[in-house]
């Protein structure tokens, strides 16, 4: 019997009073893909950092290929054949691919021979694993998917036969993710051992052989992927039964709340991002805007939310809203009954250094209800924030904690709570569950549906097609600043939407499918600070 590629025995690690890893043991056989799944903060990244020599475990042993191994630093990990692809790439942006690959693994004091050798080796790796990349391209000019490929090549160049990938799809488009999985599949065929850390159930089900579930620093189970189900894994992760599908009744749309006609937006660089958008939204319905990121969805949210100027007509409850000038700012929009959960909660939704209770009134702090004479009623706001946090199950429920100390999901709950509490007529919500763990996704989805059932209008923008499909009552697909078409979720599928997202409206040809792939490959996304945990 072959020895496991990696075996961890009783690994424990504490940061002060926080026990990040508690007596963890796993064993991964060579030539397999092993998934490690768990919510943000479950201790997955800590465990892998121990394996890569970033931290020293308080207790426990690491065995690599049957030998007990000490890993005091990254150098030792590399020597043991471990390569790591971090969630946030460790690449030098203005270096070429080749320079990044040899960095730290040069053969001598002079670069020229190392570069020549790496070029040859890279061509060889490209052939062996179908990892094509231009060795002379600058990293900053590469798409995120290709940058990740460079990280994988870096590990392979260092002779790694154990590859650890930390949330590799967090920054990828669906097509890029598919490509990555094809590469991983290939690597497995060639006998490499892969550890995949993720919080996405679908990835685990798609590609892994075995999976370990972590919860609050402990390994709760290790199972064969073929013998489990997403529902079971979710339950193991969260510690209770989780509804993976959104449970909702059919919509009962009322009066028209929002009407948009021929809306155009031009950005700072003079590029027209919205090229004449028209849509309408009724009370008690959810309109989902699907599309590959960067096709105008952000601009639509911005102009509706009062961040950006535009040309055209927006009517809210029959009243026309100004699109430029003082009456078009965020404050005016809120006064008109529009609440906004922005796409990037860390930049636009919260002030990360401020505490949760302060964040709980941003945008509404001028409200007389929060004032006490000339001053703000801090005690009152604090009480209200506490009550809100309890009701929205924000953990930890400490309003005085700075926003940056909450996990992504809990930050999002703080923002969603703030906006929903104001009882808006229209809720704009962008990427509601980006970087949010599975338990919180369920909760946020429930809140959105509840709001709809109270007769509110909701405009949902998301790049997650699953989310759009399961939440929306109607779906509008955006491409290149236009709305390509509207569909009803029950009468369409991901394929049709995918074509619309690529700007193709007629019957698709084989060429069109290629265009779809290219579209996905071309686009770049930045999820800064996602999944912090």
């Amino acid at each position: 019997m072959t020895a496991p590629a990696i075996q961890l025995k009783g690994i424990s690690k504490a940061f002060g009073p926080v026990q990040a890893n508690k007596d963890i043991s796993i064993s991964v056989m060579p030539g397999t893909i092993h998934g490690i799944i768990g919510e943000n903060g479950a201790g997955k990244s800590t465990l892998m950092s121990i394996l890569y020599g970033f931290y020293k475990a308080d207790r426990g042993e690491i065995w690599i290929k049957g030998n007990k191994t000490q890993i005091p630093d990254s150098q030792a990990a590399i020597a043991a054949g471990i390569g790591m692809v971090f969630q946030h790439f460790k690449l030098v942006e203005n270096f070429t691919v080749l320079e990044n690959i040899i960095l730290g693994a040069e053969d001598g004091r002079l670069l020229r021979p190392s570069l020549a050798k790496a070029r040859k080796e890279l061509a060889h790796l490209a052939k062996e694993y179908e990892l094509n990349i231009d060795p002379d391209a600058l990293i900053e000019n590469l798409s995120v998917g290709h940058q990740q490929r460079v990280e994988i090549l870096k590990a392979l160049y260092r002779q790694a036969d154990i590859l650890i990938l930390d949330e590799p799809t967090g920054v990828l488009t669906p097509a890029e993710a598919d490509q990555l999985f094809r590469i991983l599949d290939r690597l497995r065929e060639e006998g490499k051992t892969i550890i995949l850390i993720t919080h996405k159930l679908r990835e685990i089900m798609d590609i892994t052989n075995t999976v370990s579930v972590m919860r609050r620093g402990e390994m709760t189970a290790t199972v064969k992927t073929a013998e489990t189900s997403p529902e079971h894994l979710a339950e193991l992760m969260v510690g209770r039964k989780v509804l993976l599908r959104v449970d909702k009744k059919p919509a009962t749309p009322g009066q028209t709340v929002l009407e948009v006609e021929n809306l155009r937006v031009t950005d700072d660089k003079g590029v027209e991002r919205l090229k004449g958008i028209s849509l309408s939204l009724k009370a008690g319905e959810i309109l989902g805007i699907a599309g590959v990121a960067g096709n105008g969805q952000s601009e639509l949210l911005e102009v509706l939310g009062g961040f950006a100027n535009g040309v055209g007509t927006i009517r809210m409850n029959g009243q026309e809203l100004p699109l430029t000038g003082k009456g078009s700012n965020g404050q005016a929009r809120r006064d008109a009954g529009i609440a906004h959960v922005p796409e990037d909660r860390q930049r636009e939704g919260l002030i990360m250094e401020y505490s949760a209770w302060e964040n709980s009134v941003f945008g509404y702090h001028h409200d007389p209800a929060f004032q006490k004479g000339m001053l703000m009623d801090n005690a009152g706001i604090l009480d209200k924030a506490q009550e809100q946090m309890d009701r929205f199950d924000v953990r930890p429920p400490h309003p005085k904690l700075a926003a940056k100390n909450f996990s992504g999901g809990n930050q999002q709950k703080i923002v969603v709570a703030r906006e929903i509490e104001r009882n808006p007529d229209l809720l704009l919500i962008g990427q509601p569950t980006r970087g949010v763990d599975i338990g919180a996704i369920e909760f946020i989805h429930q809140q959105i549906v509840q709001l709809r059932d109270q007769g509110k209008a909701i405009l949902l923008v998301s790049v997650e097609l699953d989310e759009i499909m399961s939440l929306s009552d109607r779906i509008a697909v955006m491409f290149d600043g236009h709305i390509m078409g509207e569909r009803v979720p029950s009468q369409t599928d991901e394929k049709e939407l995918g074509l619309l997202m690529a700007g193709i409206t007629q019957e698709p040809t084989a060429e069109d499918w290629q265009v779809v792939d290219q579209q996905f490959a071309l686009q770049e996304e930045e999820h800064e600070g996602e999944n912090n945990g």
Binding site: S45, T46, S49, Y52, F54, Y55, D73, S74, Q75, I78, M84, F86, K90, L91, V92, E93, N94, F95, E99, N100, I102, L103, G104, A105, E106, G108, R109, L110, L111, R112, S114, K154
Partner: protein, 321 residues
Amino acid sequence: MDYMTLLQLLDSTVRLATPLLLACLAGLYSERAGIFDIGLEGKMLAAAFFSAAFAYTTGSVWIGLLAGIAASLILSAVHGLASITFRGNQLISGVAINFLAAGMTVLVAQNWFKQGGRTPSLIGGARFEPITLPFAEALKDVPVLGPLYYELISGHSILVYIAFALVPLTWWVLFRTRFGLRLRAVGENPAAVDTAGVSVIGLRFAAVAICGVLCGIAGAYLATALQAGFVKDMTAGRGFIALAALIFAKWRPWHALGACLLFGLLQAIALRYQNIDLGGIVIPVQVMDALPYILTVVILAGFVGKAIPPRAGGEPYVKER
């Protein structure tokens, strides 16, 4: 302006550009590794004083040079300790070094030499003498090229030639060696270097040490070659002009040479044309003296374009989890 005047002006440009160039390259190593250094001025000043003091005392300019380098290195070590080891603010550390050097040099000079905060004048072996290059005398009379060789290229101190030779050397080190690759990487993304198993701290200290050595040479040049002895505040903002040149050059060695020559030329013009009579209106000497500094501001504000500093510059490296 006749040919000889032009040559003399350019000759003076080379002399004045040399300390700028040395300091600029010093800053280049440090900043390329991600350590901002506004303490170039202070390091040069300390080196100027100690090189002059030791050269005067021992009578050997070479011992003076070593003393200058040592003084500069000690200040570099302080900067490294503050900004690398203790992850302090690099600007504050640099400012502190400038103040320290400005005060300490005068104080020690007064204590040692009792001449009002200066060193006695250096003579003979206590100064770097101009070197006459081979055949300079013989070729002096060849038209055009002869004077060019004799006036402009020959007749500088050894430190001038070292400074100019450092430009291609620096380029080669940065772009053709393993050390250079890592140095540039650590200034752009130290996490990439760290995960590749290379010591960020070691690289940054190496860069800061090189910076110290070059500032030491620059200071020694001021006190023992350009002038004959140390006077209070003799660097006169050259450390800052070198920083300006570094930004102007966008942290590239050959461009640094060009930028330093430009600033050297401005200083040479100011030195040569003290009072300019423009049809009755005499431009006072103070205006001419201020000109290089004014033009520095103008050039930096108007002509640099987009200068992107090393991305990790000024940020202490903290291993993220």
